[in-house]
Symmetry: C2
Subunit: 126 residues, 2 copies
DNA sequence: ATGATAGTGATAATCATTATCATTATTAAG
DNA sequence: CTTAATAATGATAATGATTATCACTATCAT
């Protein structure tokens, strides 16, 4: 990888993200890792989230307030619930999403992110 | 509409957004409307973009830096180009996107936004 | 071992977005 | 046509997430 040296902090951030199924913000990860790395700096978390994202190891989910991150993106289809404001994972047939693109599109697609808006099953019950 | 009074500024913001096919930020709209409303405040633009969005008249496209807005969303499928950083519209078969949802999903979907990442046709040519 | 360079922690700086507030515009009712 | 209620505005201060900076440390190829 182009000019990247390994770092315990970066590894820990990636492992943290891969070991959970919610979509934390930089700050959430920061407080979480403070237990293992008391000297950890918030700036380091932000820095490495950017690096990990550009390496394609995690994805960024733009939220209303802060950026959220996801380290388990075999599927990255999300629903933001307008009631409880949570961002939940959705199972989606990715094949069909790709097929929705016109055949003559001549750009280059490396990934995609499908975001649904509405109510999560929990809130839909009222 | 619940407790909304009409305002020239809000109308102008909506018309501006509907009359263009790029995806401007609040600031871009602000400078654009300054010509017609010299006294316009940036806060007014931000305020009304929020109102218009919650009324479902425009959509918000989270960008890398600032929020972008779109007033022509018969389709709201976008590609963010990793090279030129532009956000361009894509023609997409929305039917197939909806079909990608599992039949037994019991939440409620009101809208969706499909974002592709990669290179726009222009940048793909190098 | 060592030199080159990427990474870190601390903190200041940035800057998009919000909140506040006195004033003005809009609207419905008398 | 007043008037009272309240939403909207413009100006600006405040907020808060993200970045930049910098002195120092860790990593790694040679």
């Amino acid at each position: 990888m182009a000019g990247l040296k390994s770092s315990k902090q970066r590894d820990a951030i990636l492992r943290n993200l891969q070991g959970r199924y919610d979509h934390p913000t930089a700050e959430t990860i920061y407080f979480d890792l403070k237990k293992d790395f008391p000297a950890l700096s918030l700036a380091t978390v932000y820095r490495n989230l950017k690096v990990l994202e550009s390496e394609g190891l995690i994805i960024r989910i733009p939220g209303n307030d802060a950026e959220h991150y996801d380290g388990n993106f075999h599927n990255h289809y999300h629903l933001t619930c307008r009631h409880c404001k949570n961002i939940i994972d959705l199972e989606v047939n990715g094949e069909e999403v790709i097929n929705a693109l016109p055949a003559d599109f001549d750009g280059e697609i490396t990934s995609h992110s499908l975001m649904f808006f509405g109510l999560c099953p929990e809130c839909a019950k009222h």
